[in-house]
Symmetry: C2
Subunit: 143 residues, 2 copies
DNA sequence: AGACTAATTATAACGATTATAAAGTAAGAA
DNA sequence: TTCTTACTTTATAATCGTTATAATTAGTCT
């Protein structure tokens, strides 16, 4: 049930002293329920029925708030606009070169890579990102 | 000697039927010799002494040409502008969260991850990208 | 209620990139 | 050589995602 996730996220925000406005609730709900990785504009368009007066700035502002609270991650690929992903468990993404679909993909963390990088470069390593690219089953079928 | 690399790159382009204009030569030379990962604007500024009339569009156009020839890779991180990297050997990048410095980092390819992703998701995997983030030695020293 | 703070809205600004049209340049054919 | 054609560069405008600003609205606290 995704309402449990929503409630958990809201409790998290409240604990950090963030007010739960109707817009914030709706954006969060959409992020959790959509199961996709929407752009700011997609969120904006999805909610304009419920909030005809909502501004794009509100979407961006609140995505930043959620990011700072650690609830949401911003995904920046080569294309024009960022996508936003609800942080549930750690996972990587695999992206279709043909249709752009993004699918979650679980894999044990690559700690070994991080520690090697640390010793080779002298950096103090904090995190890494990885994406895998290919052609999804649907697009393979259509050649 | 980097002139050997430049000549190899030029031969590669000529073989693909690409004309070597003075601007193209200069952009390529800058990419190979700078040893950094410049943005389009940095390249533009670096060459405006030699080519006072060169347009930003020329830089973008030719970076695209080089990309299509497989000579250059576009690196898209979260920040505003893309960076461009001469493709020599396969390598990953480690990026300083504090000053933005990008350092090359060699690591045996993560074929295992790709093949697992393939079997789990049904995608036909073609490639992957990975970046490691941390704090570089210089920034560590300065706290 | 009154005062203070935070959030939303509408709009303008910004910056990276791309598109367009005009002018220039090289290469091949006649 | 000269014509023709295709490609390149230039200058400029347009686009688009995102951020900043200022005014308004809504919550919260005493």
């Amino acid at each position: 049930m995704s309402s449990a996730k929503i409630n958990a996220a809201i409790d998290n925000l409240k604990g950090a002293g963030v007010r739960i406005t109707p817009q914030r609730h709706a954006i969060l709900e959409h992020l959790i329920q959509s199961m996709s990785h929407p752009t700011a504009d997609e969120i904006y368009k999805a909610l304009e029925g419920k909030f005809p007066n909502m501004s794009v700035a509100t979407v961006y502002n609140n995505l930043r708030v959620f990011k700072e609270a650690g609830l949401v991650k911003e995904l920046t690929y080569g294309d024009s606009s960022s996508r936003f992903d609800c942080v549930t468990t750690d996972h990587y993404h695999i992206i279709c070169d043909s249709c752009g679909k993004i699918v979650d993909f679980h894999y044990p963390g690559l700690d070994e890579v991080e520690s090697l990088a640390e010793s080779v470069t002298g950096f103090e390593v904090g995190r890494h990102r990885m994406e895998i690219y290919g052609v999804c089953p649907d697009c393979k079928r259509k050649h």
